[in-house]
């Protein structure tokens, strides 16, 4: 699926005054890949994208796009890119059709070609019904589609999308995610997000940026494997009073292999249940089951807690 690096980012440093926005960011995006730039707000994702698109220059470091150095040949790099900046800036007073036509012509396409492409792109992103509308009157979701349409109008090799789903309602988010997923089949795509579910749904690979530096780079499976070597279990035992809860906690903690047991919460419906988080270095599920049963208690739940992206993200960013 993937081949040589389409985009090479090496040691990017960006300082604004005395503030370090990026302090040595390096990663590759391979051709045909959907790469997610993930990080908390202010981590440096947007700055990285602004440098990739040649909007800003890096203080030091280099960006190479399809073998072309971005700082020495920005026009050639821009011609290969489609870009959707954060919050989707558009000319609100223009009609969608005129705006897209203008974008195409500004990119050097012949008018007839632009009109042909516009029909295709409008169908792909679902703009056909609003082509005659003034952009300022469109909903946020449709504006986002117009932004995507201008980014892919010239059929660029690379699409760079900065927070493409922020500010959309849940239905619009699903639609735009599906759209981006389908775009990934024909383009190299870099998108930024602070939404982990989104990255899981869309991206082939993730680069996590935190405080201006890359803290992780890999597929989601790799990242999960790195953090999820320990066993986390959730245990639910039927009990009616606090006294029994303490006893159960001791019982669980004394199971061979159990390392840490913490009381989580109780639930009253459908039956009173106390939940515990159990950490262990081996799989102790059958031992736990036996102990609870021989103590005369009823085990209602026993499941592995999958360490989700939130957990990975926290463990990677908080340790720094």
């Amino acid at each position: 699926m993937t081949s040589a690096a389409m985009i090479q980012v090496r040691d990017l440093v960006k300082t604004y005054g005395d503030k370090n926005a990026l302090s040595g960011v390096s990663f590759d995006a391979r051709a045909g890949e959907i790469l997610g730039l993930l990080g908390p707000n202010g981590a440096g994702k947007s700055t990285t994208m602004k440098i990739l698109t040649t909007y800003l220059s890096a203080t030091s470091g280099s960006v190479t796009v399809d073998g072309i150095d971005a700082s020495s040949n920005p026009l050639a790099v821009r011609a290969m890119l489609g870009y959707l900046p954060e919050s989707t800036p558009l000319y609100a007073d223009m009609v969608v059709y005129d705006y897209l036509l203008w974008c195409g012509e500004m990119r050097g396409l012949a008018k007839a070609d632009v009109i042909k492409r516009m029909a295709d792109v409008a169908r792909v992103v679902g703009l056909e019904n609003v082509m005659g509308q003034v952009i300022g009157t469109l909903s946020k979701g449709y504006k986002q589609r117009v932004g995507l349409a201008q980014a892919m109008l010239h059929n660029p090799k690379i699409l760079i999308l900065d927070e493409p789903t922020s500010g959309l309602d849940p239905n619009q988010i699903i639609e735009i995610r599906n759209l981006i997923r389908s775009l990934g089949q024909n383009h190299t795509l870099i998108l930024s997000s602070h939404n982990l579910t989104e990255v899981r749904q869309i991206c082939d690979r993730v680069v996590i940026i935190h405080k201006g530096a890359v803290v992780a780079d890999g597929t989601l499976d790799e990242l999960e494997g790195r953090v999820a070597s320990r066993h986390h279990l959730i245990v639910g035992v039927q009990t009616t009073d606090a006294h029994t809860q303490d006893a159960v906690k001791t019982l669980l903690a004394e199971t061979p292999g159990a390392q840490a047991v913490t009381f989580s919460h109780t639930s009253q419906s459908p039956v009173p249940t106390a939940f515990f988080d159990v950490e262990a270095d081996t799989d102790i599920r059958s031992a736990l089951f036996e102990r609870v049963r021989t103590a005369g208690l009823t085990l209602l739940e026993l499941r592995r807690k999958s360490l989700d992206l939130e957990g990975i993200f926290q463990s990677l960013t908080q340790s720094l």
């Binding site: 821009r78 919050s87 007073d93 203008w102």
Partner: protein
């Protein structure tokens, strides 16, 4: 060249989509018309002078242009900055210079339309007398040149801020300053300013045009100031890279 033209076309359309073009155009026509016919009182009065000449138009029009043209240019880059559309514009495969020239050319389009509408005044004078046609042509060339220079100064002011009002006020100050103040300031600083320095003001450079003389040096002067303002605007756009 092509992206400049495509950008200019959009800017001209956007200018006429907003009420500013109509307000600025109306102010220009009414103000130049009134000044042309009635002057600032006394001997300036077109009807009292009983002379078939368009000269008052060329004396007063630069004043009016210096006030209304910054209102046309204030939006050009300040609005792009405020809306964030600048980021998309400058990441298109066009240079910053092409962007500045496209914006300026679009504004020159407005200037041409506004000047064309004043042609009714020379037409009127031609219908009642025999004015110097060469002087009329020279005067219009001068107005186009000085207007373009005002627009370039306005574009430059618009690259410095996200706020259209600030862009307007700064542009207005630059235009009025270059139109009037260079003479006045020279006289303030020096008792008897050398005539070479006085040549630096727009007014002395424009005087020949108003008399109907198109001097290559005057043309070069306005083109030079325009070029400097365009380069300063380009530099201002580029400065995002090292901020």
């Amino acid at each position: 060249m092509k992206p400049i033209w495509i950008l200019a076309r959009r800017e001209l359309a956007a200018t006429f989509d907003s009420p500013i073009a109509y307000i600025a155009g109306a102010v220009f026509l009414v103000a130049t018309g009134l000044l042309f016919f009635f002057g600032l009182g006394g001997t300036d009065d077109f009807f009292a002078a009983r002379e078939a000449t368009v000269r008052p138009l060329f004396e007063y029009a630069p004043w009016v242009l210096a006030v209304i043209l910054p209102a046309v240019t204030m939006r050009l880059l300040a609005e792009e900055k405020r809306q964030g559309t600048l980021e998309l514009l400058v990441t298109l495969p066009v240079t910053d210079l092409q962007i500045v020239l496209g914006k300026l050319l679009g504004a020159v389009g407005f200037l041409v339309v506004a000047l064309a509408m004043t042609l009714v005044l020379p037409a009127l004078v031609l219908s009642i007398g025999h004015p110097d046609v060469g002087a009329i042509v020279g005067g219009y060339i001068g107005l186009l040149l000085i207007g373009t220079t005002f627009l370039a100064l306005g574009v430059m002011a618009s690259t410095w801020t996200q706020n259209q009002i600030v862009a307007f006020i700064v542009g207005l100050m630059l235009c009025v300053f270059f139109w009037t103040a260079t003479d006045a300031i020279l006289r303030l600083v020096l008792d008897q300013p050398p005539p070479e320095l006085a040549l630096l003001s727009f007014q002395s450079q424009f005087a020949d045009f108003a008399r109907g003389v198109v001097d290559f040096r005057n043309v070069l002067y306005f083109l030079s100031v325009t070029t400097l303002a365009v380069l300063a605007s380009t530099y201002s756009l580029r400065s995002r890279h090292w901020q």
